[in-house]
Symmetry: C2
Subunit: 396 residues, 2 copies
């Protein structure tokens, strides 16, 4: 028995291992990336299921087309239109969570040794997923307005990258958002290149401060460029992750190949939950629902940011995201976030040490805090414990 | 924009294109591989959903573990035990349909150029799925008792195959089942090799004649060999395909890698439907339900077999499967199944020409007929139309 060569370079997700370790209900976890289950529309989904099964039971339970349930694709396109982005229903492919889009895009584009540009730090499960296709990752520095233009320019010019993977809204893990100007600049650079933009936007609708900004994909289209970008979205943060429904937006040439890859990978996405979510979105005021999530997450984010400011020394900083689910904390260079993690776990608080999010080392003094999945009392208590552990840290 | 090299050798599924063409409700389709929706437990699944959401709504809608819902894995293991096969729950990984298992296994094992042994003919979507990993397919001849031992022996000895992909029960497309003796012989040969068996068993529980036979995997285990085989199963044929739930059984060493691959591909399978199907299986007599499916499919199969015998000339033959969903028809060498297909479509009956199921040409005079998804009147009418078209075929 001999495994494929690609298996020598892939590993289990450190985060998911942490999550498994942290099932002890006494632990306060800032580690995961879980939405707050308080906002899962349980009763509404039950009602939607009843309607779907009583009106279209046989169709909902049968094999279906690879592309996805047409009315759901139309609804996704309509939701983009309402936010000012032109997307045609046939440009939408329904996925088992947007994570699957990363796998399909990598399969369609990446040969071993191809360069993939990634933000530094970047989303761990994307690095893991791309890793199966044996690319060379080229990490690009991020400042508070998004990816560094100088580095992106040089990389597009010199490295012949196949893909640029970006999360412009409230990035996981850093919480950084691209400014309007930075989006336009990135779009301009990408439009003049042969590199495909993979724009991941799981949190775009969870903006609780500031103004909505266009996707980089929309900026590329405005520049009149041919369509060499894909945009990923998900129902995980606005409805529920357990239904595993996301989507990818792509033009004809890329879409054709994505559909073939999806067909080979699992034939099609869960038809029953596609119809349930479609029914749910049709029958309920989902925008009001999203507003409630935003309001709660904003309170939780505010509380966590002010805890960092008030309970930690001034040489500890954090990002102040305008949406999403994560803060990024930077400790003084001399302090090890891994040691901080181990000691915090003893006091039953967890987070994710930042080093895991970098492809080429670094970040040993950084960490990611999730604020979406804890109520305010737990954030108070957890941050107080963290500050107490921190005060005993060597180098702090 | 430049696609990966693997994309030059993959194509859309011919069958799925046929299925799309055949949405005209006037068409009698023997083309698809659809279970009969009459047997979807619509009301029972509605009831199961109600229970799951009212008792564990938040957990059912949240992110979950990659391996799958533990009680469902236990139930699958228990169902194997009831049929005499020892499977531990931790050897079961829940998938988005068993098709996903093919993608994960290929990812874990296949480097470009590796040899993959396949039955000839074989399941089209498996060939398509493996194709993304650029193997060399080595097709093995099948007789009425399963894969040809002489060819398997030679291939294992000479070709260093990574995988052997087999469907021992009521194979798709041929309807052939391995005899008990052939299973043992294949197991003995595989146990002495470094080749991994990928045993696909979507139809095993839809046996309506003859006696239940052990999986090849079970025969390998009996031979005391280390665990170098995987076994795929699915709820698509006994509950419903729309819920996209299948599984793969594997030992520790392979399972570890499959879990990493699954995690990267889509984090985990739909948690809501895993719990719904678990609830459904707990609360209902699923064995009685399966027996009803078997009884109906047997009647449909009998009708189709006797139509071939009574309506076609004696030089047209078909397999007489003891279960599953497909017949395989062989026409005289001089008759083109593709021409027969085109003319039949004009008379509004479809099937799948056999050539698509062969990796290295051949089979131009063969075709696959599905008997599960048509009621008896439609089988009568469809077979009568086919026989009429056939009587006008050149060479017939």
């Amino acid at each position: 028995m001999k495994f494929a060569r690609r298996m020598s370079s892939v590993h289990r997700s450190f985060i998911r291992e942490i999550l498994k370790a942290a099932v002890d209900p006494g632990i306060i976890s800032f580690a995961g990336g879980l939405p707050n289950p308080r906002f899962f529309p349980v009763r509404e989904l039950e009602e939607a299921t009843r309607k779907v099964l009583s009106s279209d039971g046989a169709a909902a339970l049968q094999y279906a087309t690879t592309e996805g349930f047409p009315p759901l694709r139309e609804m996704i396109a309509a939701r983009y239109a309402a936010r000012g982005t032109r997307v045609r229903p046939e440009e939408v492919l329904i996925l088992n969570g947007s994570q699957q889009g990363l796998d399909l895009v990598a399969k369609v584009f990446v040969d071993p040794g191809d360069v993939v540009l990634v933000e530094s730090p970047s989303y761990l499960a994307a690095l893991q997923c791309f890793g199966f296709f044996e690319p060379r990752f080229l990490p690009l520095f991020m400042d508070s307005d998004g990816v560094c233009v100088r580095e992106l320019t040089a990389a597009l010019r010199d490295a012949e990258p196949k893909l640029f993977y970006a999360i412009p809204n409230f990035q996981n893990p850093s919480g950084i958002s691209y400014s309007r100007e930075r989006r336009r600049e990135a779009a301009r650079l990408l439009a003049g290149s042969s590199t495909v933009l993979v724009e991941d936007d799981p949190y775009g609708e969870i903006r609780f401060m500031g103004e909505d900004l266009p996707s980089i994909r929309a900026c590329i289209s405005e520049a009149g460029s041919t369509d060499s970008s894909v945009l990923l979205g998900t129902f995980s943060k606005i409805v529920s992750p357990g239904v595993r429904l996301g989507w990818i937006v792509a033009g004809t040439e890329i879409m054709e190949r994505l559909v073939v890859a999806k067909q080979a990978a699992d034939l099609h996405s869960n038809e029953l939950t596609q119809r349930i979510v479609h029914r749910y979105l049709s029958d309920n005021d989902v925008n009001a629902h999203i507003q409630r999530i935003r309001d709660a997450y904003k309170r939780q984010r505010d509380l966590m940011v002010s805890a960092v400011k008030s309970l930690f020394p001034p040489d500890v900083s954090c990002t102040e995201p305008e949406g999403g689910m994560f803060l990024w904390m930077t400790l003084p260079q001399a302090v090890s976030a891994m040691t901080f993690f181990e000691r915090s776990l003893e006091r039953k608080v967890t987070f994710v040490p930042g080093a895991a999010f970098f492809t080429s080392g670094g970040g040993e003094n950084t960490l990611r805090l999730n604020f979406s999945n804890c109520d305010e009392a737990m954030i108070d208590e957890g941050m107080t414990r963290l500050a107490r552990v921190y005060s005993q840290m060597p180098g702090a």
